[in-house]
């Protein structure tokens, strides 16, 4: 059997963003693989040091398209911690609403990508059709389908009126029905299961050693969720479950993400039913007192980590961002050892990469 090196990327129909993945095959079996990042590296951390805190809110949103709101939420949280600002409850609730809507959007997008990569185009079309409901809601609230620019330091900039609330009620009900249908259809689909069961397995030990976070870790049995363990932005006032599975393969990750989507819809319903009154933001001073702060949040892909140091001027002295995709990328070559070529697409899709986040 001859040895072939198949380049997956930087441009490849499998990947949504450029990533160089060289897979060496012998016949149909994967022998080895190497990973190379950096194709979308924009130097966000250095750029952040050259801009003021307010300009950085708009810079940070552009790290990633799918998890833009959660990045700006974490950033604003760190600045507000340094300023000792308390954001009014209504503002926090609106932030959480958009975080959860983004989670639904991200998981539906990922489901479509996984289905397309294993050849089940019908599921891809259905998932992305349901995603349109979420995008319409987000556009009504914030004016943008994917990039919202809702966060400001000290709160949010948009408010929800009755028209938004009724649209949300209808949309969330519709979504809940459709996602439960998708879950039922996947559980009965032998073709989908044949392509995803026992593929790309990660044990709990490996998860701990590589410090993996997010749905990939929860699918292998690690019970870790920042919203529940270290609540930020009023998550301690809402009740939700954190789904957990133990198989650790692509199938477990799929089912887990769909269950998380259902929980996210449940959270959204709670938010709009219990929306407190009041203002949505407090004014924030331009200069931030010197200090250091670490803040974390639960992005759709796991724990996003921000470290900020301020030296009293208008620009941050250091902003360090660690996105969850980096943790899952380390595990990819190990997952692919001794797999078949056809499973590479299922594994890469199952890990839910967001390379723009990883490269910054």
């Amino acid at each position: 059997m001859s040895k072939i090196t198949v380049p997956i990327g930087p441009q490849h129909p499998l990947l949504k963003e450029p990533l160089s993945f060289l897979v060496s095959l012998e016949g149909e079996k994967v022998m080895d693989s190497t990973l190379r990042l950096g194709y979308v590296h924009r130097g966000i951390e250095k750029l952040a040091e050259q801009r003021t805190y307010i300009q950085n809110v708009y810079l940070i949103e552009r790290i990633c398209g799918i998890c833009s709101h959660i990045h700006s939420t974490t950033y604003c949280q760190s600045v507000e911690a340094l300023l000792n600002l308390e954001v009014p409850k209504r503002g926090l609730y609106i932030r959480m609403l958009l975080c959860e809507l983004e989670r639904v959007h991200s998981h539906l997008l990922w489901l479509g990508v996984l289905a397309k990569n294993i050849g089940l185009n019908t599921l891809f079309m259905y998932a992305w059709r349901d995603r349109e409901i979420v995008l319409k809601i987000m556009e009504e609230i914030s004016g943008g389908r994917v990039s919202h620019a809702v966060n400001i330091i000290g709160g949010v900039r948009v408010d929800l009126n009755d028209k938004h609330l009724s649209l949300l009620h209808k949309g969330l009900q519709e979504l809940k029905k459709r996602i439960e249908e998708i879950l039922r259809s996947i559980e009965n689909d032998r073709g989908f299961q044949a392509r995803t069961r026992n593929i790309g397995q990660l044990s709990l030990e490996e998860i701990k050693r590589y410090c993996v976070v997010g749905p990939v870790a929860r699918a292998s049995g690690l019970d870790i969720d920042i919203r529940r363990d270290a609540p930020y932005a009023a998550y301690d006032e809402l009740s939700f479950e954190v789904p957990l599975m133990t198989e650790g393969d692509v199938w477990a990750r799929s089912v887990l993400r769909i269950l998380e989507t259902i929980q996210a819809i449940r959270l959204c319903t709670q938010i709009i039913n219990n929306l407190p009154d009041g203002s949505i933001s407090v004014p924030a001073p331009r200069r931030v007192p010197a200090g250091e702060v670490v803040s974390r949040a639960e992005a759709p892909r796991g724990e996003v980590f921000y470290y900020m140091r301020s030296d009293g001027s208008q620009n941050p002295a250091r902003l360090k961002i660690r996105t969850p995709t980096l943790t899952t990328l380390i595990t990819l070559p190990g997952q692919l050892k001794n797999m078949q070529m056809a499973d590479v697409s299922a594994v890469i899709a199952g890990v839910d990469l967001c390379i723009a986040c990883g490269d910054r």
Binding site: V6, L25, G119, N121, S345
Partner: protein, 308 residues
């Protein structure tokens, strides 16, 4: 028959032009049905023709080091073999010259495109082309056998390897579909494998090998390849209709033509539904399915046909 009638039959009806129009129509039907299964609108009726015209206008480039003569010959040979196959098949219920063994000749001609596809992967020497070509060869060895064995049930039942005799046997005993439903379904599975449609489209799986053996082709050559695949669908389905449904009509009649066309549309609908419902199978799952389940079933079925 005189020359002008012959030319009409070869080039217009039921020859080249009719085949082309039917192929484009069935291709459009396939895309429209799959789109409707997906919840989309689907392309307008002229889309396949527009795609062909666009491809003919594109630049034709190949990687350096490709043997240009072979790269041009392969699509021509596949196209020619599918058209020649249509010679012996009574498409649209027009009678055709038939002889002993033309069943086997037809099988051989219909399998040429798959072989040419594999060679196309080797000739263009890209990584994706070679992998796609290798996979297609593996699928070729499995599903051509299935197609041949399953269709042979009809030849066994009629006692001869000639298409005309198969038809005569059905006129006497009724269409073969009723005692041989299992054989029909298995030959349909074989046809899906031959045509490399979903769920058996692993040789050209877009998410893994971009476009399989045809990755490096463009322009007129790619247009010929697409046309071959679409024509193969028409000829393959007509073959199936002839062997299993021939008892329903008389040759050279308008009514027969309509029944034939209706059956074509229904079978294409079944193929599109199967494409929309199932996920793509991995190559080892494909081979396992074929050799462990389909082939034994076919052998049992043929023995049963032999005995009754």
């Amino acid at each position: 028959m005189n020359l002008s009638v012959l030319i009409f039959k070869i080039f217009i009806f039921p020859g080249f032009l009719f085949l082309l129009v039917t192929a484009l129509f069935l291709h459009w039907l396939d895309r429209k049905l799959i789109a409707r299964f997906h919840g989309r609108v689907g392309p307008p009726w002229y889309q396949p023709l527009a795609d062909l015209v666009k491809l003919f206008a594109k630049e034709d480039i190949l990687p350096s080091g490709t043997n240009l003569i072979f790269a041009a010959l392969l699509p021509l040979i596949s196209f020619a073999s599918v058209l020649t196959a249509s010679f012996y098949l009574p498409i649209a219920i027009q009678s055709t010259p038939s002889f002993q063994g033309d069943f086997i000749v037809l099988m051989f001609l219909l399998s040429m495109p798959s072989l040419m596809y594999f060679l196309a992967g080797w000739v263009t020497q890209g990584v994706y082309s070679v992998i796609g070509g290798n996979r297609s060869l593996l699928q070729y060895f499995s599903y051509e056998v299935l197609f041949l064995l399953a269709m042979s049930g009809t030849a066994i039942a009629s006692g001869s390897w000639s298409l005309a005799d198969i038809r005569l046997a059905q006129l006497k005993e009724g269409p073969f579909i009723f005692p041989q439903v299992v054989g029909f379904l298995l030959s349909l599975a074989g046809l899906i494998g031959k045509l490399k449609r979903e769920p058996y489209d692993i040789p050209k799986a877009k998410s893994e090998v971009i476009a399989g053996a045809l990755t490096e082709f463009s322009g007129k050559k790619l247009a010929l390849w697409y046309l071959t695949i679409q024509l193969q669908t028409v000829v393959g389905l007509s073959f199936l209709i002839h062997c299993f449904f021939s008892g329903f009509w008389q040759m050279n009649t308008i009514g027969g033509f309509f029944i034939f066309f209706l059956l074509l549309v229904i079978l294409q609908g079944i193929l599109s539904a199967i494409s929309a419902i199932y996920a793509r199978l991995r190559i080892d799952q494909l081979i396992h399915l074929n050799w462990n389940i389909f082939i034994p079933l076919t052998l049992l079925h043929n023995i049963y046909i032999l005995l009754i």
